[in-house]
Point group: C2
Chain length 112, copies 2
């Protein structure tokens, strides 16, 4: 097999798609946040309690990153006290079943 064939195994568009995937799932807590939301709408305080090991600073930073990536959306309600809710976008919901399967990958390697 010559060099040209070797290089073509991963096309540039596949490489771009993979890089995007890794951006979405490889932030330290991103996959956890996505799974905790699932198909639900959650208030900020709920997410905070659902992932108690994460610092407030990092949670806010990771939520912001996931919004910028188009995975989550945030709704702010002008109420007293203020209400802020998060949910997956349509694209986020579309990839959720594939992301759920990632648990099975780790399970295969944790088997004795």
């Amino acid at each position: 097999m010559d060099d040209q064939n070797l290089k073509q195994t991963l096309t540039p568009s596949t490489q771009s798609a993979l890089k995007k995937t890794l951006d979405i799932i490889c932030g330290k807590w991103r996959l956890f946040i996505i799974f905790q939301l699932g198909t639900e709408t959650r208030r900020y305080g709920e997410l905070r309690r659902m992932i108690p090991d994460i610092s407030e600073k990092v949670l806010i930073q990771e939520l912001k990153a996931l919004i910028e990536l188009g995975v989550l959306e945030k709704k702010s309600f002008n109420e007293v006290p203020p209400r802020v809710e998060y949910n997956l976008t349509a694209r986020g919901l579309k990839v959720l079943p594939t992301l759920y399967q990632l648990t099975s990958v780790g399970e295969v390697f944790l088997e004795p």
Copy 2:
């Protein structure tokens, strides 16, 4: 929903499995290396040419990490010149179809 229910959404065993998954796919080049191998056995030099953007130092480091994680195995042959080959382990091959689906996740977010 009380706090106890919120925390239970991701069980400890799911969290462990997810952490293992992230170890496997979130090294900068790990998913690329796994995809370039696929079901094939490749010599070191072939992998080097297939992923030209990676430095030799990082490729060696990432191959070693994937071997320690149980994803790859390395075979060294006492030949002149020496021959070193890599392939996915049985567990690596088992999760390969799920990993291939990760391309589709990025594609969803790259759509206009």
